[in-house]
């Protein structure tokens, strides 16, 4: 498991009870020291305490950020170790890059590239978004919006089919 703050290996696992809420923390040695020095209950300086509180709230905001496509929060990824959908790599890019650097030592792909247009992935993301919008429009009976979205979906699908490679896949006979 990796540290939640800097993605070094976590060595300290803290379960914190605060205002009736249970929260699990996984920290590396450095961050744990820093965290514990702030969390000393003997601390009486009100100003520092509220500062720490604000910092933690900011951290929580980041952690609670949600992917609009699959609905996973970054916090959930942290505890599961699995992302929810390919689009998460875009939504959580800032958080994922240091993690990828830590795992692979690099953050730029230099290997195989699909023969199909690399843009088609982007088109797919747009399509996912539009389809889910379409569903909610229909559910909410906003049929004019739904019709408009359906047209954009068709347009994108056409673009996509034109972007397909012309060479047929190698198959027998």
């Amino acid at each position: 498991m990796k540290c939640e703050r800097c993605s070094k290996p976590a060595v300290l696992h803290i379960t914190e009870l605060r205002q009736g809420e249970v929260r699990a923390l996984h920290l590396c040695e450095g961050c744990a020291k820093e965290y514990l020095s702030h969390a000393q209950p003997s601390k009486k300086d009100g100003a520092i305490e509220s500062d720490t509180g604000a910092e933690e709230a900011a951290l929580d905001d980041l952690e609670l950020q949600v992917c609009p496509n699959c609905g996973i929060a970054f916090k959930e990824f942290r505890s599961l170790g699995r992302l929810g959908c390919p689009h998460d790599y875009v939504v959580f890019e800032d958080e994922l890059l240091p993690l990828l650097e830590n795992i692979h030592g690099e953050t730029t792909h230099t290997g195989k590239i699909p023969k199909r247009s690399p843009q088609s992935s982007q088109i797919q993301f747009k399509l996912i978004k539009l389809r889910s919008e379409l569903r909610s429009c229909v559910e909410e009976e906003r049929y004019e919006d739904a019709a408009r979205i359906r047209d954009s979906i068709r347009q994108l699908e056409e673009d996509q089919s034109q972007a397909k490679p012309t060479s047929a896949p190698s198959e027998p006979g």
Binding site: P86, I103, E106, P169, E171
Partner: protein, 351 residues
């Protein structure tokens, strides 16, 4: 594919036909791929999983790149059949144990397996006997191209193929070689090998991959990094290091023979003797003894037995295979008896 008949056959990769197959049992490459328009399997509900399976099964049934694949719906199999596929290395433990619609396409020779709805939508795997990574790559590359020509993979220019776990993104490739290293284990030289491999970022695992312990002196060596290096580069790293381990193991084997040929001959003969006569035997003991016998054959100390038979016994003496052979559910104690029976029969039928 008839699962019942599998207990009488074994995968092509166990036939010991490839280069250096006295030490390199098999070479394997797998690619992790995902369809751009769906959430990853762990985040997909049952309907979406079914949709993913449908889309990808169609691709498998088109025999990508001319490879004929038999489709097996893993989600509709009994536990014992799923376990048997795990033992044959055709699906992963995770794929066997997860829930929801999923399946696997398997070639007749069991050299190719394409899992649908494992950790990623698609896990393509190609296996070869011996040290043959180039062959694995050209085959898997062709299959990957054929599927990709019809389906849009999740791919980013910067991060490459996007996978459910960031540890696989980029190339999505795992290159691994399964090695039989009894002499290095016996002399504890294996520790040096581990340390050297760790320094160049290669992982060492047991026979059944992640989290499994080393059984029968088998070790799987594979890449850990998947992003920032090309497939060719990652394959070359393994190709460069394996010959060193092979010659190290061969050197230590020869040293063991010249130091104490009689002692070694005695040890492998006793192992062979126990396997031919035991009435009850655990899985661990079987693995240990088979490993000794395998070494004995390769050193010419046992001459009435073939390597493929021993390779096959490593797989066929595992719990699910034994129960399929016996057509009944067996608890550990009965399994140990069934295992001993099966081994006796297999080893004595040759004489």
């Amino acid at each position: 594919m008839d699962l019942e008949s599998l207990t009488r056959t074994s995968g092509e990769w166990l036939k010991a036909t490839g280069p250096d197959s006295d030490i390199v049992m098999s070479s394997r490459i797998r690619l992790a791929r995902n369809l751009a328009q769906f959430p990853f399997p762990s985040r997909a509900d049952d309907n979406v999983r079914a949709e993913i399976e449908e889309v990808l099964r169609t691709q498998i049934e088109k025999n990508p790149a001319g490879r004929r694949l038999n489709y097996i719906s893993v989600s509709s199999l009994e536990v014992i059949d799923r376990q048997m596929l795990v033992e044959r290395q055709l699906i992963s433990r995770e794929h066997s144990e997860t829930h929801g619609q999923r399946g696997v396409g398997v070639s007749d020779e069991e050299n190719i397996s394409v899992m649908i709805n494992e950790e990623d939508h698609l896990r393509i795997q190609v296996l070869r006997s011996g040290f043959a990574l180039d062959e694995c790559w050209s085959e898997i590359d062709a299959i990957d191209d054929a599927i990709e020509a019809e389906r849009t993979y999740a791919f980013s220019d910067k991060l490459g193929y996007l996978t459910a776990c960031p540890t696989n993104c980029g190339t999505g490739i795992r290159v691994s070689v399964l090695m039989h290293l009894p002499a290095l284990v016996h002399t504890k030289e294996i520790q040096k090998v581990f340390q050297a491999l760790q320094k160049i970022n290669l992982a060492v695992r047991g026979l059944y991959g992640e989290g499994s312990q080393a059984m029968g002196d088998f070790y799987q060596i594979s890449n850990q990094v998947t992003l920032g290096k090309s497939e060719a580069n990652l394959i070359r790293t393994i190709q460069d290091v394996v010959p060193n381990i092979v010659s190290y193991e061969r050197r230590v084997r020869q040293a063991l023979v010249s130091e104490n040929r009689r002692g070694l001959h005695d040890q492998v003969s006793r192992a062979y003797g126990i396997l031919k006569t035991a009435r009850t035997i655990s899985s661990e003991e079987t693995m240990d003894l088979l490993s000794s016998v395998r070494l004995g054959i390769n050193l010419g100390l046992i001459d009435d037995l073939e390597i493929p038979t021993i390779n096959e016994l490593f797989i066929h003496t595992q719990p699910a295979h034994l129960q399929k052979i016996r057509h009944e559910k067996l608890e550990t104690v009965d399994r140990n008896v069934a295992r001993a029976d099966y081994i006796r029969q297999r080893l004595n039928e040759r004489n």
